[in-house]
């Protein structure tokens, strides 16, 4: 049994293609996060699943049932909205029962029981008789989640539910959502633009860009082995540095050069492109370190002390890069730093398609099925 399956889902608005052939498979009980920049089609995908938009092409299955043309109320889904969508003239309790009475056929007693149970889980027993205007943002969102809970749906659809909360409350609610899912095990599709939210909440994370899914993977694998240049740049805070350079080979060694800078790639046999090819090299800010006589030299343009690290932006060759230095490093704007990269943490991407060509890490994620990775392991042993 599956939670949600979409097959080649397409949605076009006039001449704009918002969703372009999405194949998504959310397992039953899974918490899948759909993340991407604004306008990437993630919300439209969610709305297609809810039945609030009808697809131009493709099919949607929920709990092994084809619901492509079913009305929203026949899909057994409950939705949580970014702006909570509470009815302002009803109390929290009335908000929770209003849809319940239409969508389900619980008896009055059963309804009361369900409300009490959901209120207990969400810790909102004392707020049930207040109207939304007498609730804080976090409390309103709890009521909105409670409204979805009491329905006991097959699937939860959440459209950026935490985006309207302030930063501290967001972190708190994030943890509560994770707890809630661990308790209920209801299939959940969660849309967000915040990659930290995506990484912390998702069993798996689907990164979406320009109407297409770039990669679906568990959070750590997404970070360690991004399949496309976009995923590499999007995931992580800040994202991966990418720099266009030329691949050079000398004997068994391969390295990427741009300007005066050059980084050598371990296990050159695994590197697919030919010598002289233009490639995109990827390296995360946290995998760069300061080293005397290192192969890269960066002229510092901005420093951002984050407390636990000193984020430093500068120009390497003619490409802007970021490096995460230890806190309290003595770095000033205008300094020239000598940097080196962790050889195990380098990535190559195709300059045209952006597809990953090579990850230098020895072990990548749990299902390390990509040929480059397997090759890497063989050649290093």
């Amino acid at each position: 049994m599956t939670g949600i399956t979409t097959t080649d889902l397409v949605k076009r608005f006039d001449d704009v293609t918002a969703v372009d052939g999405v194949d998504l498979n959310v397992r039953e009980g899974e918490f899948l996060v759909l993340v991407g920049p604004s306008g990437c089609g993630k919300s439209t995908t969610l709305r297609l699943l809810a039945g609030l938009e009808s697809p131009t092409a493709g099919a949607v299955e929920i709990a092994d049932e084809d619901v492509t043309t079913a009305s929203p109320s026949d899909r057994d889904v409950a939705m949580v909205f970014q702006n909570y969508a509470l009815y302002p003239h009803m109390t929290a309790r009335e908000n929770m029962t209003f849809g319940l009475k239409t969508a389900t056929d619980f008896s009055a007693d059963a309804v009361d029981d369900r409300i009490a149970e959901a209120a207990g889980i969400l810790d909102i027993e004392d707020l049930l008789d207040r109207t939304p205007s007498a609730l804080s943002g976090g409390e309103q969102q709890r009521v909105a989640i409670g409204r979805a809970l009491v329905r006991d749906p097959e699937v939860f659809l959440m459209d950026e539910p935490l985006s309207n909360l302030d930063a501290k409350l967001r972190v708190q609610m994030r943890a509560e959502l994770a707890e809630l899912h661990a308790e209920l095990q209801t299939t959940t599709l969660y849309v967000t633009h915040d990659q930290v939210e995506a990484m912390t909440l998702g069993d798996r994370v689907a990164v979406m860009y320009d109407g297409e899914i770039q990669q679906i993977a568990p959070p750590q694998q997404l970070y360690d082995a991004p399949e496309t240049r976009f995923v590499a740049e999007f995931i992580g805070s800040p994202g991966m540095n990418t720099v266009e350079g030329t691949l050079k080979r000398r004997g068994d060694a391969a390295h990427v050069t741009w300007g005066e800078n050059s980084l050598s790639l371990p296990s050159a046999g695994a590197v697919k492109p030919y010598a002289g090819d233009r490639v995109v090299l990827g390296v995360r800010p946290e995998d760069l370190t300061q080293e005397m006589g290192g192969p890269l030299s960066m002229e510092v343009t901005v420093t951002e002390p984050l407390g636990d690290s000193l984020l430093t932006r500068g120009v390497v060759g003619d490409t802007e890069m970021e490096v995460s230095l230890p806190p309290r490093s003595a770095v000033d704007v205008g300094d020239v730093l000598s940097l080196t990269a962790d050889p195990q943490r380098l990535h190559l991407f195709d300059i045209e398609t952006g597809a990953a060509l090579y990850h230098s890490a020895e072990t990548v994620g749990s299902d390390a099925a990509e040929p480059p990775v397997a090759d890497t392991q063989r050649s290093t042993t």
């Binding site: 026949d74 702006n83 849809g99 329905r151």
Partner: protein, 295 residues
Amino acid sequence: MSLDTEDTAVGARENEPLSVISDTRLVPGQWRVHLGLIGSILLMASPLLLAFVMSTQTVPEVYDITNVGIGSDGVANYVEVFTTYGMASYMFNSLVMSIVVTVAKIAVSLLAAVALVFYDFRFKNAIFFLILFTLMFPVPVRIVPLYEMMAALGWTNTLLALTGPYVASATAVFLLRQHFMSIPDSLVESAKVDGVGPLRFLWDVLIPMSRGMISGLSVITFIYAWNQYLWPLIVVSDQNKQVVQVGMKYLQSVGNAGQTDWGLIMAGAVLTLLPPLLALVAFRGPLLETFGLSE
């Protein structure tokens, strides 16, 4: 400011500056402003005050223009218009007409606004502009074809003819449409996901959320309908089915030896004013909200 004001305003500290100002009756040194305000209020109220004064006077007293005191007739004119000249039945007819027009107009406009905001259909904007376009053709402009239509339908001299032309209202549709458009889409979508049907959504969500707007519109519509003169005059011929504004006209023909009995007419006018005035006073809150003037 006095200590007294400070004590009472402790509970509502954020409103304090405003309430302190409004508690003050007269700011010393601003008596010229107050004098000007009082003068302009008197000027604006003078027709009403004169009407009230005349309604208590006898015919000779009215024609004596220097006599502006309360007359010697007292409430006799009021009793007379009510008992002898059928004012009670005119007012009842007007009340029925106004209530029917108000209820029907709000109901039709609500449905039209729901269709225009929450449904997708072809030429939606064109239809909306067509509705707005009818603002340029108020009832008086259409009076001749309307009358022909009523005659063809056999509706003349009935409540249907009296109220029918007022039921559709571009203003009400427009105001409700703008109000509905300010309701977040997610509320509608949430209802859709829960399977709440359109009529239930209208009744349980839209109407409660638009209570202020609907009450405001009702007051305006009620007063507008109450004040109609030309159309009832044309379409209703039975005097006992006539409305109050036309009934006032009948009062004018009363009188002895060519002298119009202005005391009687003014008593009628003051009575005619009362229901709209009461409606205004009772619903001033939502009325201000309708036009976005409330604080």
